[in-house]
Symmetry: C2
Subunit: 204 residues, 2 copies
């Protein structure tokens, strides 16, 4: 964890407190596992602050990553029932976005990704959440399913105090340029190298 001393004090007319509370655009990229799990670990902190959290998973299969989804649904129910923490909305492309009338098919991932981004754009304009997790969103950007320049433009001009975390490999250079914080996960060692496949409770 970085200690509390900053390297430079910018001449931006902001107080330390104002600067501290600026909303962040965060990117978790790199080849190794840890990108999504670190985003959801951060979301635990946001939950404890009572923030509204919106998770949008751009994954193809509805079966992926159910562990963190179930845990956050439980935390959402804790919020509703006791008032502790914050509300959590969880949306997955793989099963068709929950707000969409038509459920996705194998063939229209590009359309589904564009629809997901359109919804996120609407929510950003409405300041719907305090923290957005756009999980695996680098891939729709990479594959041209959404326009990188438009995404970056919407993200950098978002109103209010909305934090956004984007995860996935091969983040676009324009996204990295626009981000406040970019963390890369690097592999030093992986069990797959020794012939061991992923297992429940660890990988999902």
């Amino acid at each position: 964890m970085p200690q509390g001393r900053v390297l430079t004090v910018p001449d931006d007319g902001l107080s330390t407190r104002q600067r501290r509370n600026r909303p962040l655009l965060v990117v978790h990229t790199g080849e190794m596992k840890g990108k999504s799990t670190a985003a959801f670990g951060t979301a635990l902190r946001a939950w404890n602050q009572g923030w509204s959290i919106g998770v949008f998973q751009f994954v193809k299969s509805a079966k992926w990553k159910v562990g963190e989804e179930e845990a956050f649904k439980a935390l959402h129910r804790v919020h509703v029932e006791t008032g502790a923490g914050g509300p959590v909305e969880w949306h997955k492309m793989g099963e068709g976005w929950s707000w969409a009338r038509k459920k996705g098919t194998e063939e229209d991932h590009a359309a589904a990704a564009a629809e997901g981004w359109a919804e996120i754009r609407r929510r950003l304009a409405a300041e719907a959440h305090d923290l957005y997790v756009l999980d695996e969103f680098t891939y729709p950007m990479k594959w041209g399913w959404v326009d990188v320049a438009e995404v970056v433009s919407v993200l950098t001009s978002r109103p209010g105090r909305q934090h956004v975390i984007i995860t996935g490999r091969e983040a676009a250079p324009e996204l990295i340029e626009a981000a406040d914080l970019v963390m890369e996960t690097r592999k030093i060692k992986h069990p797959m190298d020794a012939g061991q496949k992923g297992q429940r409770g660890i990988e999902w």
Copy 2:
């Protein structure tokens, strides 16, 4: 996320299933934020599998990282009340370990760290948990508060199917050598570089 094809199939006499379910020793190291949050993100998956989780935070201050602690305490209560997920125990060095009779003072961090490790060793021998998160445990190792060779020996000979995740900077080479999976977080960009300090909901 690594895809399901392994690079080598070891001649270890194990079936794919046996090999898949081998317990992992995982290290999250590196200079950048994401080490602890990724460990707690993984713990969400373990919780959803109904695993018993033991968290041991080797932090000096009892005030650090309350966000994830509160969230997992809520998930533990969900488990107790509804049977969903698994039980979570959370112990912090900074406020004196919960099982210790004497509360820690500023002066005896080394003794407190050794006492924490002794308890973890007892629990590993008793197969008390399915997943252990030893948060910031690289520092007691680095500072000589626990013996690196003994720690590695105990971890590599632990019985049963107990997963262990250790986080912190500057992991000992012997620990990395012994680990099955080592993830390093690398900084590409941090708001501190632009004069912005850490903020609630993101850093704690």
